[in-house]
């Protein structure tokens, strides 16, 4: 009896991610959601620019690689052309919350019936550890070598809070993957974000607090602790919007 | 083989572009080659506005006109700008109820038409352009009178369809007020 196996929606291509990176977990959660809903054959994913750029090789569904920041616009084009298909983007913080802010905000404002998986690790990973729009105040990165100074480098962008100011989004939730329990919870949220689309409910975004041991200069275990101790207090977990919740769609 | 080049100029809101379109459609209905080129820019009522219309027996090269055969000047700035450019022997129509000066050229034919006044007398002071249009039809062979109603039906927007009759009435007033007009109504 098989008790554990790779989801069908993942290919056999080995991940290129650094040891301890949580992208692998999040990829798996996305693939599990696609499997559970049985929609792989009609799913088109949009990869973005950042560490997850090569996710087009990892997901078994049709994949389109977008220019930096433009994934929500590309996904909009695909979804409008193929309204019966399931369209998701998989984006990092630089892609979604810096260069792609306009695309993100307006796809959300339109209530575009797509699913966005937003991986926030508070740093630019692929280019080697520069300050991200979500880097924490005081956080040391290659381009904030003395720590992010909010006087000159501004404050982090809280995406769920930002988007919850709009009428368009259906579902906004922030989760983390820093413990087995958290991973389970993240899986639930990601499944819900895909289910919403299948049911035609509209724009869903799940922000997943993630880690970057390589560029944070920590071991994987230390990274998870840093996420728990520093990121989660700044980026509170929970549901920020759920239009279809039983209690009438309370906001955090 | 003939080509007639027309410039219509005035304020935005005077029906400049409409009159141009109407002439263009008439040319099309006559089986001629036609072009209509508007000035364009920030769309401000009362701003300056002009359009160039060419009606020809031959394919039209430039839609841009250096020396028009016909100029309709619906305000003073338009008269100042286009009077010098009228082709020798050409026709200049001056909106004399709004323009306080006479034309200076002597090598062209000038028609002074109190268009807004005539339009007002006939029920709608906004339709001075139709008076001018009627006047032009009465003194030129470039555009036939017969298809003007058909052309108005093509150009007029659906929500202004009820204005078709008043347009025709005022056009006729301009036409009959023109020289040698009456016989062409027959």
């Amino acid at each position: 009896m098989i008790v554990f196996q790779k989801p069908h929606a993942l290919t056999d291509v080995p991940f290129h991610y650094c040891p301890g990176c949580t992208h692998g977990i999040i990829h798996r959660l996305v693939a599990e959601a696609i499997d559970k809903l049985g929609v792989e054959g009609r799913t088109v994913g949009v990869a973005s620019v950042g560490c997850s750029v090569m996710s087009y090789d990892y997901f078994n569904c049709d994949m389109v690689e977008a220019a930096h920041g433009r994934a929500p616009a590309v996904a909009t084009g695909i979804k409008r052309a193929l309204p019966e298909n399931i369209v998701f983007t998989y984006q990092g913080d630089g892609d979604l919350a810096a260069i792609g802010t306009a695309e993100t905000v307006h796809a959300a404002a339109r209530g575009e019936n797509i699913t966005i998986i937003f991986v926030n690790n508070a740093i630019y990973g692929m280019t080697g550890g520069q300050m991200a729009p979500t880097s924490l105040p005081g956080q040391i990165t290659q381009t904030s070598p003395y720590g992010r100074d909010v006087k000159t480098q501004g404050y982090p962008v809280k995406v769920c809070e930002l988007l919850s100011g709009l009428d368009g989004p259906t579902y906004l939730e922030r989760v983390s993957v820093d413990s087995p329990q958290a991973v389970k919870n993240a899986g639930r949220a990601i499944l819900k974000a895909f289910t919403n689309q299948v049911e035609g409910k509209g724009f869903s975004l799940v922000e997943v607090l993630s880690t970057c041991p390589t560029n944070w200069g920590m071991t994987p275990v230390e990274s998870l602790e840093w996420c728990r101790e520093n990121m989660i207090p700044y980026y509170p977990l929970g549901v920020y919007r759920d239009k279809f919740a039983e209690n009438g769609g309370g906001e955090k | 083989m003939s080509t007639t080049k027309i410039i219509i100029a005035g304020f935005g809101g005077q029906g400049i572009l409409f009159t141009g379109k109407l002439m263009t459609y008439q040319g099309l209905l006559d089986g001629k080659y036609v072009s209509w080129l508007p000035s364009y820019g920030p769309e401000v009522r009362g701003g300056t506005c002009n359009c160039s219309v060419i009606i020809s027996d031959e394919p039209i090269g430039s839609p841009i006109i250096d020396n028009p055969d016909i100029v309709i000047a619906m305000n003073r700035p338009s008269l100042d700008k286009y009077e010098p450019r009228v082709a020798k022997g050409g026709k200049l129509f001056v909106e004399s109820s709004l323009i306080d000066r006479k034309a200076e050229r002597t090598d062209i034919t000038v028609y002074y038409v109190p268009a807004t006044e005539i339009a007002n007398e006939n029920g709608d002071n906004r339709l001075g352009n139709m008076v001018m249009h009627g006047k032009v039809l009465s003194v030129t062979d470039a555009i036939s009178f017969d298809n003007v109603r058909q052309a108005i039906e093509k150009v007029i927007s659906a929500r202004h369809r009820d204005l078709l009759d008043i347009n025709m009435k005022i056009l006729a007033a301009g036409y009959s007020g023109g020289q040698a007009a009456a016989s062409r109504f027959a």
Binding site: G41, R70, T76, G77, I78 | L37, G41
Partner: protein, 357 residues
């Protein structure tokens, strides 16, 4: 064939696109092309199509990229400053060999410039519409009828070669009205698109549309392959019109509105006994080099008539291999050459008798 109707150039583009099977228009307002968007906004919902006003030109071109990835016919339109923003997307569309149609109704630049007609995006359209080695098919209409016909052709060539076709118009042709005759169905050839991302239906390997190629030897090969395709386009697709060239001593090269003005000037010059003709490139890329090369052995001189500071003139010099002098006749900034202005240049060049300056 239906009856002749009067249409604005911009409206002719939109109607022809719809009749060519385009059901996805994604744009952003900018003068002087907004009539395209307005027309689409009115028509598309009535025929089951999609009109999207994006949040920016960047977004619009990326929505086009998304629709094109599904294999559906789609287009965007803009004017010069907006096209600059779309250039990123044009590079990605080329890199992924996605068919799409992009319209540029040019206005005067650089920068915000003005809103009056211009042809000063010639270099951008034909030489550098984004980073990397790539080409677009560039079609230059000179009448409202051609706005329609070349838009239809743009869709066909885009599908045929898996490229972006650009319709490079200008504010004059966009705004002017002329009679147009449109066929009901302008979607002549349908192409299979097995590469499209429409879902695997669990029946095939997943399709990937991607332009990230980290191995230089593979990226080089992809570029070489793409340029083999471009070679075929260069062989098969140059289009041009010759006007009074049989006995011409002076050859004007001009496209779009500048060619219309030039024709009028040529007719006047001929009345004065000056033998002048016109070669009008209809495709700006591939550039019709052959007729100009042949003309270079016959005429005494060339005049490049353009609404730019001397952009087309480079291609005229290259195609004529500089065998004869090439003079520039231009207005810029939204000013348009008039027939008189071109005529003066013709007389001036005629007086030089083909001597180099």
């Amino acid at each position: 064939m239906s009856e002749k109707v009067l249409m604005k150039g911009n409206e002719a583009i939109a109607e022809a696109a719809i009749r060519s099977g385009c059901r996805y228009y994604l744009g952003y307002p900018i003068t002087p092309q907004t009539e395209v968007a307005a027309y689409m906004a009115k028509k598309m919902p009535k025929i089951g199509g999609v009109f999207m006003q994006a949040e920016s030109e960047i977004s619009a071109v990326n929505m086009v990229y998304g629709v094109a990835a599904t294999g559906k016919r789609c287009m965007t339109s803009s004017s010069s400053p907006g096209i600059s923003l779309k250039c990123e997307g044009l590079s990605y569309l080329a890199a992924c060999d996605l068919p799409s149609v992009v319209v540029n109704v040019q206005r005067g630049g650089p920068g915000l410039g003005g809103i009056q007609p211009s042809q000063s995006d010639y270099f951008q359209a034909t030489k550098g519409s984004g980073h990397g080695d790539f080409r677009m098919i560039v079609l230059a209409p000179s009448s409202v009828q051609e706005m329609a016909d070349l838009t239809s052709l743009a869709f066909d060539l885009a599908d045929k070669y898996r490229m972006t076709s650009m319709v490079l118009a200008d504010g004059t042709i966009g705004q002017m009205m002329e009679p147009v005759e449109l066929k009901d169905d302008m979607h002549e050839t349908h192409y299979d698109k097995p590469w499209a991302c429409t879902g695997t239906k669990m029946e095939r390997e997943h399709n990937i549309i991607n332009s990230l190629i980290l191995k230089p030897e593979i990226l080089e090969q992809l570029n070489l392959d793409r340029y083999e395709k471009y070679k075929v386009v260069e062989e098969n697709e140059p289009r041009y019109e010759e006007f009074m060239m049989e006995d011409a001593d002076i050859c004007i090269v001009a496209f779009g509105i500048a060619s219309r003005v030039s024709k009028s000037a040529i007719v006047e010059a001929r009345k004065q006994g000056i033998k002048v003709g016109l070669i009008r490139p209809i495709t700006l890329w591939p550039f019709p080099e052959e007729p100009i090369r042949i003309a270079a052995d016959k005429v005494k001189s060339f005049i490049s008539v353009e609404l730019s500071m001397g952009q087309l003139i480079y291609d005229v010099k290259l195609a004529s291999q500089c065998k004869k002098p090439v003079y520039l006749c231009s207005r810029v900034g939204g000013m348009i050459t008039s027939p008189d202005y071109v005529l003066k240049k013709i007389i001036e060049v005629n007086n030089l008798g083909g001597a180099s300056v």
